[in-house]
C-alpha cells in the first residue's frame, strides 16, 4: 500500500484540493500507519502553535530615520526652548505695557495660563509672579 506521506501535512493545513482531500480521507479510514502519522503531525503542529506570541518591544515601532530609531517625542533643543520663553515674555510684556485702546480688556488669565503651561512643561522654568492689573485705559 502506498502511504500518504507529505499529503498528510497539507491535509492538516487545508492545502489540498477537494479531490485530494476526499482521497486522503478514504485512505485514512483503512490505513492505521497513516492515521498514526497524521496524529503525530497534528501533535507537532499543535506544539509549535502553542508557543506564546511575544510582544514586540515598543521602541521598535517608531519610525526609523536613516538607521536610527527616532522617538515620537523629541525634547526641544535648549536654544529653542529659551527663544520660545523669551518670545512668551516679550509678547506678554508688550501686551501689558502697551497703551491699550479705550475700553479694550486684556484677559489677564490668558497671560497667566501661558506661564502655567510653560511651567508644567519645563521644570527649570521659574514662573513670574503675576499681579492683576486693571487695564481699562479710558477710565
Amino acid at each position: 500500500m502506498i502511504h500518504l506521506g507529505e499529503m498528510l501535512s497539507a491535509f492538516l493545513d487545508g492545502e489540498l484540493t477537494h479531490d485530494e482531500e476526499r482521497r486522503v480521507t478514504e485512505h485514512l479510514g483503512s490505513c492505521e500507519f497513516c492515521a498514526e502519522e497524521l496524529a503525530d503531525l497534528h501533535q507537532a503542529r499543535a506544539l509549535v502553535r502553542s508557543l506564546p506570541i511575544l510582544d514586540t518591544p515598543g521602541r521598535l515601532l517608531h519610525r526609523p530615520d536613516d538607521g536610527k530609531v527616532v522617538p515620537l517625542y523629541r525634547r526641544p533643543r535648549a536654544w529653542a526652548a529659551a527663544a520660545a520663553a523669551a518670545l512668551v515674555i516679550l509678547v506678554g510684556l508688550a501686551t501689558v505695557l502697551a497703551p491699550s485702546p479705550a475700553g479694550v480688556q486684556v484677559p489677564i488669565e490668558d497671560l497667566s495660563n501661558q506661564f502655567r503651561a510653560r511651567d508644567s512643561l519645563d521644570r527649570t522654568f521659574t514662573p513670574i509672579e503675576l499681579v492683576p492689573v486693571v487695564l481699562n485705559g479710558a477710565e
Binding site: 506521506g5 497539507a10 503531525l41 507537532a44 508557543l51 506570541i53 518591544p57 515601532l61 519610525r63
Partner: protein
C-alpha cells in the same frame, strides 16, 4: 491576503511588527537578534514602500524579512544558539495563570523552541512561516522563492523531525 494592504510605514509596523518579531525570535531563540531584525526590516520597508508594486504584499514583506534575516546571519557568521530567557515567555503568557501551570508552559515552550532550533534552517523556516506567522503554502513559496511542492515537503519533514525530537 491581498486585501487591506497597509500603505503607510506606520500601518506595516503596526500590522506586521509583532509577526516579524516572533518569526525572528522563533528562528533564533534570541530576543536581541529578533529586535535587530524588526528594526532592519522596518527600515527596508520604509525605503522600499515608495517602489512597492501592488501584488502579493505578504510575499513582498516576507521576502524582505527573510533576506534581512539571512544577511544578518551571514554578517554575524554564527548560528543562533542562545537559550530561551524565562522572563520573555513569562511576560508573554498573559493573565496570571497558576504558577505551576506557568512553569509547565514555559518548560514546554523551551523544549519546543530547542527542538525548533535543532532543525536544519530550511525546515525551521518553513515550519515557523506556516505555524507561527500563519502564511499559506503559496505565500511561503513566494517568500522563499521555491516551488510550492518544496514548501509542502519542508513543512512535512520539519514536523516529523520535531515530533522525533520531542518524543
Amino acid at each position: 491576503m491581498s486585501e487591506g494592504i497597509p500603505l503607510t510605514w506606520e500601518e506595516v509596523a503596526r500590522t506586521y511588527g509583532r509577526k516579524i518579531y516572533n518569526f525572528a525570535y522563533r528562528l533564533t531563540g534570541n530576543p536581541d537578534d529578533a529586535a535587530d531584525l524588526v528594526q532592519e526590516v522596518l527600515l527596508r520597508v520604509k525605503r522600499g514602500l515608495p517602489d512597492y508594486v501592488p501584488g502579493s504584499f505578504e510575499g513582498w514583506l516576507w521576502r524582505i524579512t527573510r533576506n534581512a534575516f539571512l544577511d544578518d546571519v551571514r554578517r554575524r557568521q554564527r548560528r543562533p544558539t542562545a537559550p530561551l530567557p524565562d522572563e520573555m515567555d513569562r511576560a508573554a503568557l498573559g493573565a496570571a495563570p497558576a504558577p505551576e501551570e506557568v512553569l509547565a508552559r514555559v518548560r514546554l515552550g523551551e523544549e519546543v523552541q530547542r527542538a525548533l532550533l535543532a532543525l536544519p534552517y530550511d525546515f525551521r523556516e518553513a515550519v515557523v512561516l506556516c505555524d507561527i506567522v500563519g502564511l499559506s503554502y503559496e505565500e511561503i513559496a513566494a517568500s522563499v522563492a521555491v516551488p510550492i511542492g518544496t514548501v509542502r515537503s519542508r513543512i512535512h519533514r520539519g514536523r516529523k523531525m520535531l515530533k522525533d525530537k520531542l518524543s
